[in-house]
């Protein structure tokens, strides 16, 4: 990770190209991911957001090699990777690590905190003395004291501490890519803040690329550099997080943003119809959001909108994107210049 030649920096650490994932077959096929391309650089956090069924976790599984894509490729530092994890070499497996939603359930309950973190090191043949030192270092990285929590078991520490332990374990193999799949969703807000701060610091200091999967737009805003908005396995919009969230170009992004309740802030216009998202069992045609979209036309049913660049690093897949002027008229009321 420390080899910082300019050429190496230019190659994305992780790329996903035209990814398609299906589950089942025949009439029971679920079209989970339908042609998604993503690219990540070292030290960058890419957030995947969307509702349940948007395909965000499936993309993560394809990256790790836990599901086999129907089409598309996963590339690590420009090299195409085998679809299945078992067919990937040891170094590649170590390079992509994952943190899950349930921290206690993802640790071995019979091992101490130290043993849990040391296990991936032992698997790589790291000697005992070195392991001990490295475990201390890893615990320090996530803000935990080895003397206090090291000898405890996952059941004896709090949820927030357990999640920091699983982050430390994921970092043990010095991965280039860290995937956090709803890693703070099960935590209380007061604890969530600590874990988010730890993740941010790790991305900055360890120069890893983080794929941050979340349904929570407010969390995503405060943790990611780039955001990709997914709806039923299709990429709606991608771009710098603040630009996308402050002035969405896709109607789905705008609707998703309008639905987030904030303390003391009344909700704005929903910006979408009452329709439920269409079934992922139907082979997608056109734009997947059209039934819920207020701006949909016949074109949206006939033709799938291609991802078009609308600004620097900013892409939107919509036949009738929100104009920049409309986007600037943000639904959040400004307190400045309000008549007394």
């Amino acid at each position: 990770m420390t080899e910082s030649t300019i050429a190496a920096e230019d190659i994305p650490v992780l790329e996903v190209t035209d990814l398609e994932v299906r589950f089942g077959s025949g009439g029971a096929t679920v079209y989970a991911v339908n042609g998604v391309s993503l690219s990540m650089r070292a030290g960058e956090t890419l957030a995947l957001v969307g509702e349940s069924g948007s395909g965000k976790s499936t993309i993560a599984k394809a990256v790790v090699g836990l599901v086999e894509p129907a089409a598309g490729e996963v590339l690590l530092r420009g090299r195409t990777q085998a679809a299945q994890r078992v067919h990937r070499d040891k170094a590649t497996r170590a390079d992509i690590q994952m943190v899950f939603q349930n921290p206690v359930g993802s640790l071995n309950p019979f091992m101490t905190v130290e043993q849990n973190i040391a296990e991936p090191l032992r698997n790589r043949g790291v000697g005992k003395a070195e392991r001990g030192a490295r475990v201390r270092e890893l615990l320090d990285m996530v803000g935990l004291d080895a003397d206090t929590v090291g000898a405890r078991r996952p059941g004896q520490i709090s949820g927030g501490q357990a999640q920091r332990v699983s982050i430390a374990r994921a970092l043990a193999t010095e991965p280039a890519v860290l995937i956090a799949d709803e890693a703070v969703s099960a935590l209380d807000v007061s604890v969530q803040a600590t874990v988010l701060n730890v993740l941010r610091r790790i991305v900055d200091q360890q120069n890893v690329a983080m794929l941050f999967i979340s349904h929570d737009l407010a969390v995503v805003r405060n943790v990611s550099d780039t955001v990709a908005v997914l709806h039923l396995g299709q990429l709606c919009e991608i771009g710098p997080t603040e630009a996308v969230l402050s002035a969405p170009a896709h109607h789905y992004t705008a609707a998703l943003r309008a639905a987030v309740p904030e303390p003391g802030v009344p909700l704005g216009d929903p910006g979408m119809t009452d329709a439920d998202p269409p079934s992922p069992r139907i082979k997608p045609t056109g734009c997947s959001f059209r039934d819920r979209c207020l701006a949909a036309t016949a074109l949206c049913a006939a033709e799938r909108p291609a991802l078009t660049m609308v600004g620097p690093d900013r892409g939107v897949a919509c036949h009738h994107p929100l104009e920049r002027a409309a986007r600037a008229a943000d639904p959040v009321p400004s307190t400045l210049g309000a008549p007394a």
Partner: protein, 335 residues
């Protein structure tokens, strides 16, 4: 919050203490909680895990955990009727009549092998003999009233045939079937997507406005209460920390815990926070009664007496109360 003498409160809880006794170990879950809910009023109870908010809701309804003895002190009245003096049989026989509950996961609170119409009218058909056709017609009407499209056909479906949001509407229909005086909703939208959450909360607003029942909305999400409840109650480690009008608690919280909680919530508006202000430390053990203030060990404005003396209820403004020594000092100084 003072009710007129003639008005019967939808809910009246006084000094509720709940301890779970399991063998030798005692868990002190609620330590003296009082709450009034008027008819037609919506009150939000917000708290993190371990705050006792769910146990509070369940105790009101008469649901006790299996496998442990529950030691309850204080009083609970729902629409004037004493809930604690009632026997289990009485509680069961009037289930749904006085108070009913909407649960977090509609998929697991409904029976997957029974058509939804039967489950919606269960609270009615369990007590009275109702003709099958009449019962089904009632269920269809209820489904229509909670906004389920094509209610005649959907009444015949099984829970697994609904989406999460639609199924929570079925849960609401079942909860309001026998016109309860009090509706308790325990994290009713936590399992749902935000876009669906909004519609379910809108429905709860409509149902309350139409029926005039009291609503207690239990949640971990302070943001969700804006515009939805008249008052907010903030709970921590089995105690009420702060009570006040929802808008006031969210904009000018008095208690240090509420302030910390609000600061830790990532925001969609305002400056981006690269370093979120976390609340250090963790919940005190519930295996012993909390001396003084339960938040003392994590509190930024802690004083010595916070560890030993239980803080008084300090009135900050009309209807806005905080249980805190620091707030008490501030009030004293400004007097």
């Amino acid at each position: 919050m003072t009710a007129t003498a003639s008005e019967t409160l939808a809910l009246e809880v006084r000094d509720l203490e709940v301890n779970f006794v399991s063998g030798e170990t005692v868990t002190y879950v609620l330590e003296g909680v009082s709450l009034d809910v008027r008819q037609g009023e919506a009150v939000g109870i917000v708290g993190e895990s371990g705050s006792g908010k769910s146990v509070f809701a369940r105790t009101i309804l008469g649901i006790r955990p299996r496998g442990s003895v529950v030691d309850i002190h204080g009083s609970i009245r729902v629409a004037g009727a004493d809930q604690l003096a009632a026997t289990d049989a009485e509680i069961r026989s009037r289930a749904g009549d006085l108070a009913s509950m909407i649960y977090q996961d509609p998929m697991s609170s409904l029976n997957p092998t029974v058509r939804v119409w039967r489950q919606i009218v269960e609270a009615i058909t369990n007590r009275r003999r109702v003709r099958r056709d009449d019962a089904r017609a009632q269920a269809v009407e209820l489904l229509r009233s909670v906004g389920v499209p094509d209610p005649e056909a959907r009444a015949m479906a099984y829970p697994g045939e609904f989406s999460g949001g639609m199924l929570q509407r079925v849960g609401i229909a079942a909860a309001i079937a026998s016109h309860p005086d009090l509706l308790l909703a325990d994290e009713p939208t936590t399992a749902l997507d935000v876009t669906v959450q909004r519609r379910v909360l809108d429905l709860l607003d409509d149902v309350r406005a139409a029926s005039g029942m009291g609503l207690v909305l239990v949640t971990h999400d302070l943001g969700l209460l804006a515009d939805r409840t008249d008052r907010t109650v903030v709970m921590y480690a089995g105690r009420i920390m702060e009570t006040g009008p929802t808008g006031i608690v969210a904009s000018t919280p008095a208690h240090p815990y509420t302030r910390g909680l609000l600061a830790a919530i990532p925001r969609l508006s305002g400056p981006i926070q690269r370093e979120l202000p976390a609340i250090g430390g963790s919940l005190p053990p519930l295996s012993a009664p909390r001396a003084g203030c339960p938040f003392a060990a994590r509190c930024p404005v802690v004083q010595e007496r916070c560890f030993t003396e239980r803080p008084p209820a300090v009135t900050v403004a009309d209807g806005h109360t905080a249980h805190c020594w620091a707030v008490a000092d501030d009030q004293e100084a400004s007097r």
